[in-house]
Amino acid sequence: MTNIAATAAPSAKTAAALPTRVVKGFVDRLVIIIPYLWLLFFFLVPFIIVFKISLSQTAISMPPYTPVLDFKDGVSGFFAGFRALNFDNYTWLTQDALYFNAYVTSLIIAGISTILTLIVGYPIAYGMARAPATIRPTLLMLVILPFWTSFLIRVYAWIGILKPEGLLNQVLLATGLISQPLVILNTYTAIFIGIVYSYLPFMVLPLYSSLEKMDYSLIEAAQDLGCPQTGAFWKITFPLSLPGVVAGCLLVFIPAVGEFVIPDLLGGSQTLMIGKTLWNEFFSNRDWPVSSAVAVILLLVLTIPIMFFQQAQAKAQEQGR
């Protein structure tokens, strides 16, 4: 009998403690649920809407596509609309070379821009990481500072710099370096300048964070073992900064592929990038279904580098770095 009483007592105690534990567990879960709800309502639901529109047909109506899935004609009307959905727009994308070319051009431009941004950004990040610790916060601030001005205004400013009678040409002509104004605006060069300029912080910051935590004695050790400074950079510093290189490149590449403002303002009318194509389909042609299909394909194209990025990150985490 005493045995039973002894075992019963603790279980009564746990029963009493249960409600508070349940409440606490619920609060914990709520904290996790909030970001998921955010993703659900602001990413997944809009994506499903876009995907649904991409399976519809364009129509002169309000909204400008058909079918519209609703219960105006009851449940059977809803399912009839559902059956009318098809992949015609996707087939259309493969039939017109314009879209394929736009995708490829976008990927190439984004790729070249990313490499240029890396070439420009790496020395900046390296210099910052090697600067005295007291001035590093200031340098970091200077990198972030341009974000305080509107992106659009900064791109407009580049028109003023790059146009034939612009700042750059005036300076070059005045110093006698050139006799004819350079044609930069409305070329791919202008797009590259615009993208490198706009996305530089996204490259510099991850590079800086990976270079900054590197122990300088590693470089000294490499030198001590007979490796000159440049060799030490390629054998030690660069491989160790690879996680930062990958992160920076993806942060530049992904938005650059879908970039619309920079090619539109700096690249002129003849540039063929997917962001511009999408804008034209949507606003000029008012063809929501095709532009939705373009957007869905763009998303798929970008998912590949994102997955690559996540894999690289998981690997880096596994190595404990």
Binding site: S217, E220, A222, Q223, L225, G226
Partner: protein, 379 residues
């Protein structure tokens, strides 16, 4: 074949006037802005010597090591290695290697690749590199860890990889910056002996920087005690301990009692020191002291005997009271408050389990020591 111990026993090139110095610091000064890290320092290290630079942090010992490695250039003076002036030679061309305090193992390379790094740099052929790496792994007993990366190793294993990597190139001199600083006490003691054996086996010159006096005493043939960028004394561990040449060195290494006084009698065999309160000490190794000069008499705690009665044959005996007793197992430490107020630290080995002359708090006691038990130092 000579045993390693006997090589070490006969090794004393610093006493040989014909011995050729291997490393020479010749009036070396190093300034960082206004701060003088190393001040007009001269020092000689011999081939195959295990040399320790001992000092508190900021005394300039690491700067000295970094100048030898080539990471810093002296502001003035010369550093010679095997007769060659090292000025202007970049670190990657110097025949010295360094083991870093942080180990500085390359995190993206395996143990094997870390050790092979320096060999590849000097263009050693592949098969030779493999052989040497295998040899090094065996030397530090890490054969089964060849394919691991540094983060998969324990602290002690990392230390050994760093060691293997720094000796793989067979440098003329191996520099060790606080080599055991990151290890726990027990591992540190084991590793001290391993390092000594390794140094003998490879026949290399080791220069080690440390702030741990026990470590320096255990491993080094000679120790340089440094303070504020200057060398205070260079000597064997026994000399440093038994015959310090300054108050600083006496204080820095081990425990010491200091008696301040005036030399009241000076002859070839006897120096009489009289303290402010009239207490007298007779010493037969007066050193440089001249009659009438103010000096300090320094004596180690274990050289002092504590007894309840005045020993009949004692030349030096002072009376006081037991102020504190600390029983440490292997020995007992007494703090005796002399009648003139000075507190004397004395330690006694507990050679038998039961003391014949037990002393405890507030007992009257006598401290006594032989006339050659301490040293006379300038004030």
């Amino acid at each position: 074949m000579k045993s390693l111990g006997s090589i070490r026993r006969d090794f004393a090139p610093w006493n040989d006037p014909n011995a050729k110095p291997y490393i020479q610091f010749d009036k070396v000064t190093k300034k960082f802005g206004d701060f003088t890290a190393v001040n007009n320092l001269s020092l000689t290290i011999f081939e195959r010597e295990f040399f320790a630079l001992l000092g508190a942090s900021g005394c300039g010992k690491s700067t000295l090591l970094r100048m030898l490695a080539g990471f810093e250039e002296p502001s003035a003076g010369r550093i010679l290695l095997d007769g060659q002036d090292l000025r202007g030679i970049p670190p990657y061309k110097r025949p010295v290697n360094m083991m870093f305090q942080s180990y500085a193992l390359f995190p993206h390379m395996t143990v094997e690749k870390n050790i092979a790094f320096g060999l590849k740099q000097e263009g050693m052929p592949g098969p030779d590199i493999e052989r040497r790496v295998a040899e090094m792994l065996k030397l530090v007993k890490l054969e089964q860890f060849a394919k691991r990366k540094p983060h998969q190793l324990s602290g002690g294993q990392r230390q050994r990889v760093a060691l293997a990597r720094s000796v793989a190139k067979r440098p003329k001199v191996l520099l060790l910056d606080e080599p055991l600083g990151a290890l726990d006490k027990k591992l540190r003691e084991e590793t001290q002996f391993e390092l000594m054996d390794l140094q003998q086996e490879l026949g290399l010159t080791f220069v080690v920087v440390t702030h741990d006096q026990e470590e320096a005493m255990t491993m080094a043939d000679r120790i340089a005690i440094m303070d504020k960028g200057e060398v205070m004394q260079v000597a064997t561990p026994a000399e440093i301990y038994e015959a310090p040449t300054s108050r600083f060195v006496a204080h820095f290494v081990g425990n010491v009692n200091m008696f301040e006084g005036k030399v009241t009698e000076r002859s070839a065999s006897t120096t009489r020191i009289t303290g402010a309160t009239g207490a007298q000490i007779v010493v037969d190794n007066g050193g440089e002291a001249t009659a009438g000069s103010d000096i300090v008499f320094a004596i180690r705690p274990e050289k002092i005997k504590v007894t309840s009665k005045k020993p009949a044959d004692a030349v030096n005996a002072l009376e006081g009271e037991v102020y504190d007793v600390a029983y440490l197992g292997d020995m007992t430490v007494y703090h005796i408050k002399l009648d003139d107020g000075q507190i004397v630290r004395a330690s006694a080995m507990n050679a038998s389990r039961v003391s014949e002359d037990p002393l405890t708090w507030n007992d009257r006691a006598w401290v006594s020591f032989r006339p050659d038990a301490g040293v006379v130092l300038a004030r």
